[in-house]
Amino acid sequence: MAESSLLRVNNLEAWYGESHVLHGVNFNVQKGEVVTLIGRNGAGKTTTLRSLVGVVGKRRGSSIYKGIELLSLAPHKVARLGIGYVPEERGIFSSLNVIENLMLPPAWQAGGMEVDEIFSLFPNLKGRDNTSGTRLSGGEQQMLAIGRILRTGADFILLDEPTEGIAPVIIEEIGAALRVLKDRGITIILVEQNLRFAASVADRHFVLDQGKVIDEISNNTLDANMDRLNRYLGV
């Protein structure tokens, strides 16, 4: 089973300066799956994503993607394998307008979406080409952050809390977009605090606590495991 994994994360550790944040994270992702990383604030969810794309200082352990060790790659080589990263703070550039933001990441693989397709997925972005990226609302910036990754042909997308601080209507739109991506066979790791949203798109959930994966729950058995999950999340 583990041999066929698209991504296999093994004993991943990471540091910010002196502080040791990840203490041996283990999980795997199959092709075409949507998995979530859930857990309390500070559990290491964001750091896990950041470690995979190499924007964390020091890392140890292993994360093998399509047979390639990501930890030994220079940070700019990760995206070239078709891994797209949508950061928590969205990372929209204020000195770039909407279309420049959208066109910024190079398309490293064939099969990326055309700009028109992105606009039909996220109609809010249409006709805003010359607006400065950060003039958009939070939800629109999130759409832009996802949209620009879809252009690159990435077939493995790391999404960090796309629903954080966003209006419910737009959360629905983002959820619908994620289901479209899933139907296209795109693999997604989603960091999420919003359990309802996570349940609406994911196949499996990994629970993180204190820099480790402490449990794995399949989405089918989510209802049966609700008590356990609420205990983990401290709700």
Binding site: V53, V55, H76, Y85, P87, S95, L104, P105, W108
Partner: protein, 295 residues
């Protein structure tokens, strides 16, 4: 002859022209300084030394190797740019994660060492460098005589500044640069080789100051101190325009050159401090600079 406030108009225009030429050099230097600060977060005190190196490279290629003016004008900045690559790769790169102060001290040290070295080898006196035959003579504008070489300096500086500005504001490469200025880690996570981009940016910017040095050689003599005398004004330009604002640096440079020229006409004693008075006023009224984005 017409007078303005008791100053003959030809004298005034002559000083304006001188101011515009000085402004052109300020622009070539402050443009690079602003880009380096924006992208690399480095206050490049060595910028004046690279300007001086450009002048010396031109002088060496011309008088020792017998290259003509035009090949020299191209080869000198390339040589300076290559030295810039070495400095960035071997030294500056190690300091990006640290406070500004470290790279400031490093580049200041590099400037002192280069200037001292050249003073030791070549002495403090200037080396003459002739105006190329194709740019000798001048144009009689009716109200004044415009030497060809000075016209060339103004035009080529403006063209280079405008092209650089356009490349940054209107091209894909420029979009990478602007984005990397804001969030280099994310741009790298998009698959762009940001460290390489930083090296080439530094090389291009110090190459620009090398170009300015080669361009200045026939106007001012080539001397070890030429960099340190211009760099202070150039820093004032960047502070006035707003650290990291590229368009602001160009406009401010030309405007300050003209202000200097005007001061020389009306009150010569104040001409060397005019720029700094403007700087003090700007810092008091708009501390982040006239053209900064955040203000």
């Amino acid at each position: 002859m017409a007078d303005i406030f008791g100053v003959p108009i030809t004298v005034l225009l002559g000083q304006l022209l001188l101011g515009l030429i000085n402004g052109s050099f300020y622009a070539l230097l402050s443009l690079g300084l602003a880009i380096i600060f924006g992208m690399l977060n480095v206050v490049n005190f060595a910028h004046g030394a690279f300007y001086m190196l450009g002048g010396f490279a031109a002088w060496f290629l011309f008088s020792k190797l017998g290259l003509g003016y035009w090949p020299t004008l191209i080869a000198a900045p390339i040589a300076v740019g290559i030295l810039g690559i070495v400095v960035e790769r071997l030294l500056l790169r190690r300091l990006y994660r640290m406070d500004h102060l470290y790279s400031l001290l490093l580049t200041f040290g590099i400037a002192l060492m280069l200037e001292g070295l050249f003073r030791h080898i070549f002495g403090a006196a200037g080396k003459p460098y002739p105006v190329p035959p194709s740019l000798m003579g001048g144009i009689n504008l009716g109200f004044m005589f415009l030497p060809m070489y000075r016209a060339w300096v103004i035009i080529v500086s403006l063209v280079i500044c405008i092209l650089t500005w356009l490349a940054i504001e209107r091209t894909k490469l420029g979009a990478y640069l602007r984005a990397a200025t804001e969030n280099p880690a994310l741009v790298q996570a998009f698959g762009i080789n940001v460290p390489l981009m930083l090296t080439l940016t530094y090389a291009f910017c110090v190459g620009l100051s090398g170009f300015a040095g080669a361009l200045a050689a026939p106007l001012y003599q080539v001397s070890p101190g030429m960099g340190s005398s211009i760099i202070i004004v150039v820093f004032a330009v960047v502070v006035i325009g707003g650290m990291g604002s590229i368009g602001g640096a160009i406009v401010t440079a030309l405007a300050l050159g003209i202000i200097e020229g005007l001061t020389k006409t009306f009150y010569p004693a104040a001409s060397s401090i005019a720029v700094f008075i403007v700087m003090v006023l700007v810092i008091l009224i708009r501390p982040s600079g006239l053209f900064s984005r955040e203000a």
